[in-house]
């Protein structure tokens, strides 16, 4: 634990070495994600509703997804850039240190630029909450925090697919990004606006619905499922389970790497 907090502190310190550049990049990210937010807002003023969801509700979902994805990219940089890491042969250095490999990978890099996108997401969430006249309670706050954590694990798990592929193939396969970046874009809207196949995909395969949409719908008082409140605290655990599964698979990749040394 001491090692992990120390590593994070040091990564922030590294980032602070180039303060002006970092600030510019945060602003750039803010503008880019802000552009997406504007596009969604424009669509919502035109169409008023998506499926049975009102504009403010959609905005809330959008904001949760943007901030969660931004946090995942911020702290998951070690995983998202893992294929380059392996290609440069830097993975060997991690094998030579007495710490769990995945922990080292996760704490090897940060991407503080994503603070810009995170801010946009938060603005969307707060604006939507105000429009919905949402009554914040401790329980809702806790559930939302769990949603963010569960979804971050799910997204990290999805990024780990490409990380695992990189052990077997030097060329990164763009196709595996379908579920990460594609998942973000598709699942900034609740799954029930989609036809059957996509709904199954994002509920049971890459369980964005369980991690994010179901509990969020409960937070904004429009539950998608007829579940008691405590059950919404359980569904984001699907993200943790997905992550745990990907960790197992990633370690198979590690074993392959150590037997072939690509």
């Amino acid at each position: 634990m001491k090692y992990m907090t120390h590593a994070v502190k040091m990564l922030f310190k590294s980032a602070m070495q180039y303060r002006a550049s970092l600030l510019m990049q945060v602003i750039a990210q803010f503008v880019m994600t802000g552009g997406e937010l504007l596009a969604v807002t424009v669509l919502l003023t035109r169409f008023k509703a998506v499926g049975h969801w009102g504009a403010a509700e959609i905005l809330f979902f959008f904001g949760v997804m943007q901030s969660t994805f931004a946090l995942t990219e911020l702290f998951g940089r070690g995983i998202t850039s893992f294929p380059w890491f392996v290609q440069r042969g830097e993975f060997d250095a991690l094998i030579l240190r007495p710490r769990p490999l995945l922990v080292q990978v996760m704490f090897s890099q940060l991407d503080p630029r994503r603070l810009g996108s995170f801010l946009v997401g938060m603005i969307a969430v707060l604006t939507a909450a105000a429009q919905l006249e949402l009554q914040w309670t401790l329980l809702k706050g806790l559930l939302l925090a769990e949603v963010v954590l569960g979804s971050m694990l799910l997204l990290t798990g999805l990024f780990m697919i490409e990380a695992t592929v990189s052990f077997f193939s030097v060329k990164s396969i763009e196709m595996v990004n379908v579920l990460t970046y594609g998942g973000r874009t598709a699942c900034q809207y609740p799954v029930d606006v989609y036809p059957g196949v996509l709904r199954v995909l994002f509920t049971y395969v890459a369980p964005f619905a369980m991690c994010m949409h179901w509990p969020v719908s409960a937070v904004i008082g429009q539950p998608m499922m007829a579940l008691p409140m405590w059950a919404y605290f359980l569904t984001p655990l699907a993200g943790a389970a997905f992550f745990a599964l990907m960790v197992r698979i990633w370690y198979i990749g590690v074993r392959h790497y150590r037997s072939t040394g690509t």
Binding site: S14, L96, P98, P100, R258, G261
Partner: protein, 323 residues
């Protein structure tokens, strides 16, 4: 049992190549090629030895190092380092191991090197007081004092190498791997680095295994060398003996006061200006027997004995071993 014990260690890579012909099926068909990176290498190294690993590029040096450090698992054979199998209990194994791999940094680029050392303290779970004492000693020996607060990216190559060494020795490893430690360093830095490594080996009993193409490194540091070629261990023993084996021709350059009587000398003689150049094989004609004969051939004004340059020797050795 020796500190490092390797028994018929082998490593075969499988490379998948796209076939050169075959039309559209080239997209998914792959030709499988087996590459023998290391074949049947057996050796043992005692604690406190300073061993050099040499061989041309692609000889299997880095494969050997990767197997001993536990980065790779072998396709065959056994290996124990202080009783542990490197690739099995990774974390326990690497806790006692230090490594500096040539150009690749293990420290953090953008923070003062002292911060890197602090993080290494936590990575290796070193008690702060123990760490501080060790750091002070290393900083003094490696003359790093004035750079402790400078980020790694601002250091010169030599300073960086010293910082890397410091980082790799903070946890007082039993075994240190060095890959081309003096590459790109200036003459003074090289000498200092060699002196430091000798001292580290002598004082702390650290076993050091280094790969290098720099024969001066070998001469200065290693009493024992292992020569690898095409994945096989071709020679394992004293460096002196190896050099003697290939150091077959010596050259003696003599300038006489007046014309000498050289016809009787047991050496091949040529002229170079006013000097006589005698080439002979010390194995057949020991220098100690040749010299009195040269001295009695005439009054000698000056004389220089030239051995073959080590690089030439090694090049000859590689050639004779058909590498």
């Amino acid at each position: 049992m020796a500190f490092i014990e390797a028994q018929s260690l082998s490593k075969t890579y499988t490379r998948h190549n796209a076939p050169k012909s075959g039309g559209i099926s080239r997209l998914w068909r792959r030709e499988i090629q087996q590459i023998q990176a290391l074949t049947d290498a057996s050796f043992s190294i005692e604690r406190g030895e300073l061993v050099g690993l040499i061989g041309p590029n692609g000889a299997g040096k880095s494969t050997t190092v990767k197997l001993l450090t536990g980065i790779l698992t072998p396709t065959g054979g056994e290996c124990r380092v202080n009783g542990r199998t490197p690739w099995e209990n990774r974390r326990e194994h690497v806790r006692h191991l230090g490594a500096v791999f040539g150009q690749r940094t293990q420290l953090w680029w953008d923070v003062p090197i002292r911060d890197s050392f602090l993080l290494l303290r936590d990575i290796y779970d070193i008690d702060h007081a123990v760490w501080q004492k060790r750091l002070d000693a290393l900083v003094e020996a490696l003359e790093l004092g004035e750079f402790l607060n400078a980020p790694l990216r601002q250091l010169s190559l030599g300073q960086r190498m010293r910082a890397e060494l410091c980082g790799s020795l903070l946890h007082a490893p039993e075994l240190l791997f060095l890959d081309e430690p003096t590459i790109g360093l200036d003459a003074v830095s090289k000498l200092k680095l060699r002196a430091f490594l000798k001292e580290e080996n002598r004082r702390n009993g650290t076993t050091i295994l280094l790969t290098t193409h720099d024969m001066e490194d070998m001469l200065a540091l290693c009493s024992r060398v292992m020569v690898l070629g095409r994945g096989r261990l071709l020679y394992d023993g004293a460096l002196d003996a190896l050099l003697r084996q290939y150091d077959t021709v010596h050259t003696l350059r003599v300038v006489f006061e007046e014309a000498p009587e050289i016809a009787a000398l047991p050496a091949h003689v040529t002229r170079d200006g006013d000097a006589y150049v005698l080439t002979y094989e010390p194995a057949k004609m020991p220098t100690s027997e040749l010299l009195p004969q040269v001295l009695s051939a005439g009054r000698v004004r000056e004389m220089t004995l030239k051995e073959q340059n080590v690089d030439e020797l090694i090049a000859r050795m590689y050639k004779e071993m058909a590498l």
